[in-house]
Assembly symmetry: C2
Homo-oligomer: 311 residues x 2
């Protein structure tokens, strides 16, 4: 049996999965990233995680043909270098070269949001769709565009930054200069900002995070409901721009904030129906991501398969 | 010598060009569309124009392998049907079937903005670029995205509607429901709206159109300058969204309003520098379209060549 190993490197966890040609997971490892160890330490942990996933699969080491790695960006897939990741504190780390030496396998690297999208469109919610736009609503807002089963690549590998679509030109400034972008409204951070601006506080004992306000909204708190309406509306505004540009056949939502479900999706759809041409909404499907925890690692595995020129 | 014939169907003119494999125009015809003749009459005129271009080339009729037609949309390239064109008054016109019968050649159909982009990226300003975003600032705002020499196709053939990117969620409403979209600021119609709202009138004897205000701005009229600053800023806002999503290597501007040059481009660039990640602006080129009048017909010819599976 031939397999590849996909790795999802996150700020909190490393997930590795041994994956066959059809997307079946034959073995898995999950461990803390321990970012404080620095790049060298974390790369050691990745190599350990890959070997642990291999052992969990019960397959011989030589049956793994390649390793795909998803990392937060920006990064340069061609050179195999992670240029910068604020949450890991990395700068210009040659991930591919180092892991190739540690593992003795072909290694490919991509942006984690792109790989999550690739995984979902391969064997998740987007299976069989020609043009899939994935939007991850987490601490930030990221995205991936999959066309004909492949990651859409811009000119220099930094496409699909859907979180930086402008939804209000006079909105609040981001630390990096842009202002009024999607990420500021519909990320976990954005929800907390909107709630705080509305004078909301989490109930006693609850942390200051989006999920606390989601629960308040779900239990009927008007101000919290209005926060989710505003976030959902802005998601609709940003998606309207993306849909007119890209004409996807499916939009997949994932990430913690997407867990708010209808609180977010209803105002989003209301905005989209107002803004989009019928020709763009007709037949356009909206889905929640299905792969959960495995999404990134499965996508990384898919990329590894594609790097071997296997369909 | 083998050639194809490209046709650009516009509200005012029909342009047909006999084009060889390298993009050289061997013969051309241009005539009024006469939209008032209705679909049947205009399709007759297209066929006449194609035959006239053939005669102008001096080449035998059988040397033309296929015909490409660009039309205002929305349209269905797969079915070869123009679904709706407000400025021609067409509804569900089977252009490909009718022209195939009239001409006895293979006929392919595409959106005119996509074909203009295809032409420019083939032998115009975008030659050799991997990802080219073309933005036409005319009566409305249209666009085309070319990736690896081909038109980016969404799920249902209605991608690249860059004019409908939202640049201000609370901006004025369009007749079709959306509001605050790029087209409302930086099209000829949008410029006239902004100027009128600013209390501007064209000088005596000048028509109420964008070019009149462009001349006022060029000669230093402050209010007119501010109109172009506002339009340029909004163009920057819309392009910032598109650039973060698509990561093009080149943006090509065309159309009458783009003739304002620096009046528009300077505030656009100022906004882009404020909003875009360095990774997205680095190496990104901005160009004016080069093919002029032939842009659409050359792009239609390129599509005809591609339909014959010739590179």
């Amino acid at each position: 049996m031939k397999t590849v190993i996909g790795v999802d490197l996150g700020g909190t966890n490393i997930v590795s999965a041994v994956v066959d040609e059809k997307g079946k997971v034959a073995g898995k490892d999950k461990r803390k990233t321990l970012a404080s160890l620095g790049a060298a330490g974390v790369l050691d942990r990745i190599a350990e995680s890959v070997r642990a996933a291999s052992r969990a699969s019960g397959l011989p080491w030589k049956s793994h043909l390649a390793v795909g790695v998803g990392s937060p960006g920006p990064l340069d897939p061609g050179k195999g270098v992670v240029i910068f990741t604020p949450n890991l504190g990395w700068k210009n780390v040659p991930v591919v070269a180092i892991l190739r030496e540690k593992l003795g396998k072909k290694v490919v690297l991509e942006n984690d949001a792109n790989l999550a999208a690739l995984g979902e469109s391969w064997i998740g919610a987007g299976k069989g769709e020609k043009v899939v736009l994935c939007v991850t609503l987490g601490t930030g807002v990221g995205g991936g565009l999959i066309v004909d089963g492949k990651i859409f690549q811009g000119a220099t590998g930094v496409s699909n930054h859907i979180g930086h679509i402008v939804v209000d030109p006079d909105g609040p400034r981001t630390p990096y200069g842009n202002s009024g972008v999607l990420e500021q409204y519909v990320s976990a951070t954005g929800i907390v900002r909107l709630a705080t601006e509305a004078g909301l506080k989490p109930p006693a004992g609850e942390p200051l995070e989006a999920y606390s306000f989601q629960k308040m909204a779900a239990s009927g708190n008007r101000k919290a409901l209005r926060v989710y309406e505003q976030a959902g509306r802005m998601l609709g505004v940003g998606l309207a721009s993306a849909i007119h540009l890209l004409n996807p056949g499916m939009v997949i939502l994932s990430g913690g904030v997407a867990g708010a479900g209808d609180l977010l999706v209803k105002p989003m759809m209301k905005e989209l129906r107002k803004r989009c041409f019928k020709s763009h909404l007709k037949g356009l499907k909206f889905r929640m991501a299905k792969l959960g925890d495995n999404m990134g690692a499965v996508g990384a595995a898919r990329l590894a398969w594609q790097s071997l020129k296997v369909k």
